[in-house]
């Protein structure tokens, strides 16, 4: 049983006003790949370090495999960590780096050698076993860091933005390799990143953190389709969801010329509402709100149009992002009409809560 549990875990750095991690309640199931994502400063690295034991817990508990490890030393927690800058021992060879922990655990030399070789084979590191970290490329170093974690055969893998120092192409490739590796090994993994695309593609579940508070923890699909609040809605998905704060009049809101009905239960209780529309749900056509296009981004398979809404009495500065097909997108400066299927709209209260999901 190697689940990981945060129980009302809080950590506040001395001298700061708000907690780095506040009352975090989260369980990672045995064998699950959980990604913790959020903007910088949201507390995701702190949360990870709390599991490792590198960060003290001010209140609450941390459990690994059901066992309360809040007061246990890092070296007794049976976790392995992959650091953002890999933290390889510069004076040791690759083989020595990977075998260091096993040597401390006083494993017999033959067993250490076997495990190191097995991990090296898994990660294509055999030709580099006798090299020092400074003679390796970034991608190779990253794999050594992974290898160092794998040979320990720990209960939990902890990864702190391990891909962020790789170039874009290598990152995409390593992403899928890493996910496949974890599936193969079946070890519970807590993975921290600031890149929401990484989070969506790798995790079984994704936990979104903001300012130390958990916003939502769900499968990538649920996060995308049913964001629990405005922050998650705007954070997940790229380009971000369009979020328009509009006053409710006559049980509807007006987006430019386009009038959208607001469900009764919402319009009865509030004067304003935040409407969320994903760029891909806009249809260009002869109906809807008029926008003037400022920027056209052609990405090959898709084209994104960035523009401003134009109301009957002049331009509002509300910005809209819409996705157009790759054939013959409209030109910059031109005006088009767009609308979205009312069933695809998200409604949020002005305090951020989700009020009505579209699907």
């Amino acid at each position: 049983m190697a689940s990981v549990g945060f129980e009302h875990a809080t950590r506040r750095y001395p001298g700061t006003a708000r907690a780095a991690v506040h009352d975090l309640d989260l369980t990672v199931d045995d064998g699950e790949f959980l990604v913790v994502v959020g903007p910088s400063g949201c507390g995701k690295s702190t949360a990870l370090r709390m599991v490792a034991g590198l960060e003290p817990v001010d209140s609450g508990r941390i459990r690994i495999g059901g066992r309360d490890v809040t007061d246990t030393d890092p070296k007794e927690r049976d976790t392995a960590m992959v650091f953002q800058n890999y933290a390889l021992y510069p004076h040791m060879t690759v083989a020595q780096n990977m075998g260091f922990a096993l040597k401390i655990a006083k494993l017999p030399r033959a067993q250490i050698r076997d495990r190191v070789l097995a991990a090296a084979r898994l990660l294509d590191l055999q030709p580099y076993l006798d090299r020092r970290p400074k003679d390796l490329s970034g991608g190779q170093r990253q794999r050594v860091a992974m290898g160092r974690a794998i040979v320990r055969q720990p209960q939990v893998f902890l990864m702190d933005e391990p891909l962020s120092n790789l170039d874009a192409k290598l990152r995409a490739q390593t992403r899928s390799e890493l996910a496949a590796l974890q599936r193969r090994l079946g070890t519970t993994t807590v993975y921290v990143t600031h890149d929401q695309a990484e989070a969506l593609t790798m995790g079984d579940r994704v936990a979104v953190l903001r300012d130390g508070v958990l916003q939502q923890c769900a499968s990538p699909r649920a996060l995308y389709r049913e964001p629990a609040n405005v922050f998650v809605a705007g954070f997940i998905g790229s380009p971000a969801m369009n979020l328009l704060t509009l006053p409710i009049r006559d049980y509807s809101v007006a987006i430019g010329d386009w009038v959208v009905a607001v469900p009764r239960d919402i319009s009865d209780t509030a004067a304003q509402v935040v409407v969320g529309i994903r760029p891909e749900h806009f249809e260009l056509g002869s109906m809807g709100v008029e926008i003037e296009i400022d920027v056209v981004e052609e990405l090959g398979a898709d084209t994104y149009l960035y523009g401003r809404i134009i109301t009957p009495d002049g331009a509002i500065d509300q910005h809209i992002v819409a996705r157009a097909g790759w054939r013959d997108p409209p030109a910059r400066g031109s005006r088009i009409l767009v609308r979205a299927d009312p069933d695809r709209l998200h409604f949020f209260a002005t305090d951020g809560r989700c009020l009505r999901r579209s699907y």
Partner: protein, 282 residues
């Protein structure tokens, strides 16, 4: 249940106590000779062996006696004069040369610098005798010139220090000045000098302390009391008033005070100077 358990708290308290005990122990080892000297300076001669740190009747008169037994103010003045002259000269000429080695290209520059570095290895003992003979040839033995001139135009170490520092400065400052048509001297004097304050502080402090503490050279060069340095004066006094501990300790404390003052004031620069020479690491 929330918060660290009792066992964890107890463990961290024990560790803190052990740490501070070790720190206090080390601080005591570092300071006790000075404290003991201070306490000795306040005792009477027969009562010198009393194990108490602060005597019941502190004899401040011992300090007054120092002034009558050696020309303290004169020697202080001499030492300050030599230290100031050498420090100013070192800072100026070493920074000038350091700038040249770092930023101005001329033929033979790099081989010359290697020569500089090589001289750092030459031990004092080899150069003392010829320098003495040189001073004698110039007619400078037993004059302030012997104490000032050798160090005045800088040293290999000082130049090395300044060069390393100049290398860390961004080149845009200079490039803008060159575009504006400044001469190298103007660049050095107007543009770069304000930016090298940390390195200047370090070199100044190290040089000052070095001159203040120098013993072999004054010993060899100076016989006249009126141009002697404080360290020389103290050793003369030691030879003359052997075992008259209270007054010797009082003199020692008096000589230490300016140094401790400089140290307290420039402690960070001091440590940085040592570290820069150490450049330690992998």
């Amino acid at each position: 249940m929330s918060g660290p358990t009792e066992r964890v708290i107890k463990r961290s308290v024990v560790r803190a106590v052990a740490l501070y005990a070790a720190l206090i122990g080390m601080a005591w080892c570092a300071l006790f000779p000075i404290l003991w000297a201070l306490s000795g300076s306040l005792k009477t001669e027969p009562g010198i062996a009393e194990p108490n740190l602060f005597p019941a009747h502190p004899q401040w008169s011992n300090y007054a006696r120092v002034f009558s037994l050696m020309p303290f103010w004169r020697m202080l003045g001499n030492t300050v004069l030599y230290a100031c002259c050498v420090t100013l000269g070192q800072v100026f000429f070493c920074s000038l040369a350091g700038y040249a080695f770092a930023r101005l290209r001329f033929r033979g520059r790099d081989t010359l610098f290697v020569l500089y570095l090589a001289t750092l290895m030459v031990p004092l003992t080899v150069t003392v005798i010829p320098q003495f003979i040189l001073m004698r040839a110039f007619g400078w033995t037993d004059t302030p010139w012997a104490m000032i001139v050798p160090g005045l135009f800088g040293s290999a170490f000082g130049t090395y220090l300044m060069r390393q520092f100049f290398l860390t400065l961004p080149t845009d400052l200079e490039e803008a000045a060159v575009l504006d048509g400044c001469s190298p001297w103007q660049i050095y004097w107007r543009i770069l000098l304000p930016h090298i304050r940390p390195a200047v502080m370090v070199l100044a402090v190290l040089t000052w302390v070095n001159v203040w503490n120098d013993f072999l050279w004054p010993l060899v060069m100076i016989q006249r009391r009126d141009i002697a340095t404080l360290t020389l004066g103290l050793v003369w006094m030691q030879g003359q008033y052997v075992s008259r501990w209270p007054v010797l300790m009082a003199a020692s404390i008096l000589i230490l005070l300016p140094l401790l003052g400089v140290y307290g004031f420039a402690q960070r620069a001091f440590v940085r100077g040592i570290t820069l020479t150490g450049f330690g690491g992998r």
